[in-house]
Amino acid sequence: MTDVDAPVRDRPAPPAGVVGESPARPDGSAKVQGRFAFASDLEAEGMLWGRTLRSPHPHARIRAVDVAPALALPGVACVVTADDVRGAATYGLISADQPVFARDVVRFEGEPVAAVAADHPDTAQRALEAIRVEYEPLPALVDPEAAAGAEPIHPDGNVIRHVRIRHGDEDATGDVVVEGTYEVGMQDQAFLGPEAGLAVPDGEGGVDLWVATQWLHHDRDQVAACLGLPPERVRLHLGGVGGAFGGREDVSMHVHACLLALRTDQPVKMSYQRDESFLGHVHRHPARLRYRHHATYDGRLVKVEADVLLDGGAYASSSAAVAANAARFACGPYRVPNAVIDAVAVRTNNPPCGAMRGFGAVQVCFGHESQMDKLAARLGIPPVELRLRNALRPGDVLPTGQRLTGAAPVAECIRAAVAHPLPPPAGDGLLERPGGAGRTAEPGRVQRGVGVAVGYKNLMFSEGFDDSSEARVRLAGGTAWVTCAVAEVGQGFVTLAQQIVRSALGCESVVLEPASTTAIGSAGSSSASRQTWMSGGAVLRACRLVADQVRSALARRLGVEATALRLGDGGRITAAPGAEVTVDTTVTEAAGDEAFEASAVHRHPVTQPLDERGQGDADVSFAFAAHRAVVDVDVDLGLVRVVQVSTGQDVGKVLHPVQVTGQIEGGIAQGVGLAVMEEIVVDQGLVRNPSFTDYLIPTAADAPEVLATCIEEPEPGAPFGAKGVGEPPTISSTAAVVAAIRNATGVDVTRVPVRPWDLV
């Protein structure tokens, strides 16, 4: 007799904190109490302090390096240079073009030349000052426009990648044409936790490195290659990560610390100070964007021509992929039947640039959205209406020839962003005026403006990259242990993993094992908005395998076929329709004290490289967002206060409402920062503001009110239908703020960040 709907006995309550709820982070208590161990908090018995000597020149020949004076200092244990690198001399995310230590030439200010280990951080600092390096300064190539035609500054040449997209009729013309040239300054990830790690030699020639990173396994491969060790003798473990935003995709202190630890046979800790952090990681590419938009009189886009120049700085990092993103998303989330797009990343003697939240899509969004406003003005069509007329819909074809098969609620995002109530006029509080604590603005000279922008980018890696994540789940005695090498950088994967297990196994107690290369295979990078899909998918698959095992075991106990039992939501096991058995339990309850374990690798569908015309199904999925910004501008002083940003964001499905809100608010703050304050000022290759005194990020007084609407349209193929949510908030918020500034001032702003002297 079967009746799955009838309560047969004490029906187990679903565990708290499942997918869709907002349980607290498992590391939250430790973090608010200061007990959470960040990489810079680590220490070991007998530990030495490592520091890196960096080039003061953007381009110079190294004539001689004399480390003897440093070695002569009491307390100095070891100095290493390029001569001490036994393995590969260079490393890199995509191509290994960056030296561990410069040997003959330095190509940017801050390039490592040597590293020291000493008994005290101050001793290490004195040792750096004692090393004598004889430089012969060379002319610095600092103009990206000149890079392609200049003498190569690296054996790999000055053009890192040129991506061309030719789509439709290259000669198509519209009734109206608008042109513009736009510039994006160099933004920094400015994560709060400095680059840090602790390398501990194992006494047998191998090394363990606890480090703050975004991708343990890829780091491990690069570090092992440079150390000349097989990968299994280099073990990377995740040290607590104080934010990342792309800035920890590249190796930083990893190889230096390991070299010092292996040479001294002592643990070596390295922890950058802020000035070194600004020199020691890649930044968002500065960009020059030249656009020509063709449209019909009724506001249909006919063709987009875009020429994007990205300054990659001295080494390649992820420039090749950033250039491809800039090309693929250059037109924005609109139907563009004809496109001629060139995106070039070049090498210069400026600071190396690479990954930052939004990854190429941020720069071009400022360009295409500035153009859409210009076109709207030319046509006399309201900016929102022009965007709605051209908004991508499912089934549309992108400039790469790829057809949109997933959720693409672009119009819904736009409508949601502008449906939020506008803020009231600024009050009398001084903090409500532009200039804030500076208390300078005259209320009568403050003008309000409103602007809108829309953007999109890919989720997960693209262009044929074999992207995967592995997870293992062990269920025993009412607790599930999850092993996955995801780098938790603050995004909240630790919370999500617990939620997924609770939803899949009905198991309230979920323990996350430490992330390490020794524990399991790669989870891939915590970037490209990919971990919810990839590692969330891996955890879900592993749970399903465990659930299957438990179902089979229960079926054996009950003397029925496994197919007589049905696995349902919340890890519930009930009788299948028509089955001659009465059961209502959860996977966890059915497992009892018996242990079940399964591993799973999750892969997304295969993507294709772009061909020579930039055509190909290069992407797995896309996420869209629209932003409306409201600003107050002091028109005499050029000061801007961003009052409010409202958004509609395509999320697929909200898995954790509070964490999604946190990603949206945090991403918008970074977009606002790029719009009005954040820029690494580089003068003749030298960074002029490597500190939080001079590189400003938004404070609580600067951050706008944020009003968010999540558009839930489940994404086919995504675990739970959920899209990654980290990057879209950063993509079009910058452009929306600038549109609002133009609206307030009438000034044709073409550059971000917008500086006071751009407005007055």
Binding site: G34, F191, L192, G242, G243, L512, G662, F692, T699
Partner: protein, 206 residues
């Protein structure tokens, strides 16, 4: 488990409770010895360089890593502590100059309650966790100290007062929204007489 506890031992400095005989002395090699009162406990610092900041001594000599090292210029507030009840950036204070002062770090902010596994959270800490005000968490200890300080001085600040008061603490992850929501929650709860706060020294400062 990412909820990593520090070991109670620390390798880099002798930090002992002492019967204060002298509060300050000069040792070999230009180093100094002095006493700091941290979270109500007298701690002896031996052999420190006179240039060492309070932040460095707390972190590297006294095994109190709750104050964080993010900018070393007094701009980010991650290293916020109270010195004789005044909110300061410990990166800008010379440790030797704080000898004899009462220093409160995040480790000394402990709530009331009976959680079996760890020191109970304060109302501010609990609200930050529940509201989602923690992401990477690097700025969080500084915010906890700064928010306690604010609400101690100004029990009912306006939202703009809160934003201004916390503008010395940088957060790169949250955009501040959930942190500000947590502060509003604490203000509301305290006004309603709920969750009484008793900030007391952590036992032996870890």
């Amino acid at each position: 488990m990412s909820d990593t506890e520090h070991g109670t031992e620390n390798g880099t400095g002798a930090a002992n409770e002492v019967n204060g005989t002298e509060s300050k002395g000069t040792g070999a090699g230009g180093t100094e010895s002095y006493e700091l009162v941290v979270n109500g406990v007298r701690r002896r610092v031996e052999g420190a360089l006179p240039t060492e900041s309070l932040l460095r001594v707390l972190r590297d000599r006294l095994g109190l890593p709750g104050a964080k090292n993010a900018c070393e210029q007094g701009e980010c507030g991650s290293c916020s502590v109270l010195v004789d009840g005044v909110l300061v950036c410990s990166c800008l204070e010379l440790a030797a100059a704080a000898a004899g002062c009462e220093i409160t770090t995040v480790e000394g902010l402990v709530g009331t309650g009976a959680e079996p596994t760890a020191a109970p959270l304060t109302d501010v800490q609990r609200a930050i966790v529940e509201a989602g005000g923690v992401q990477c968490g690097f700025c969080t200890p500084g915010f906890v100290v700064a928010i306690h300080d604010l609400l101690e001085r100004v029990p009912d600040p306006s939202p703009l007062d809160v934003r201004e008061a916390l503008a010395g603490n940088l957060c790169r992850c949250t955009g501040y929204g959930r942190i500000l929501a947590a502060v509003e929650q604490v203000i509301t709860d305290r006004a309603a007489g709920g969750s009484p706060v008793a900030v007391r020294p952590a036992e032996g400062s870890r």
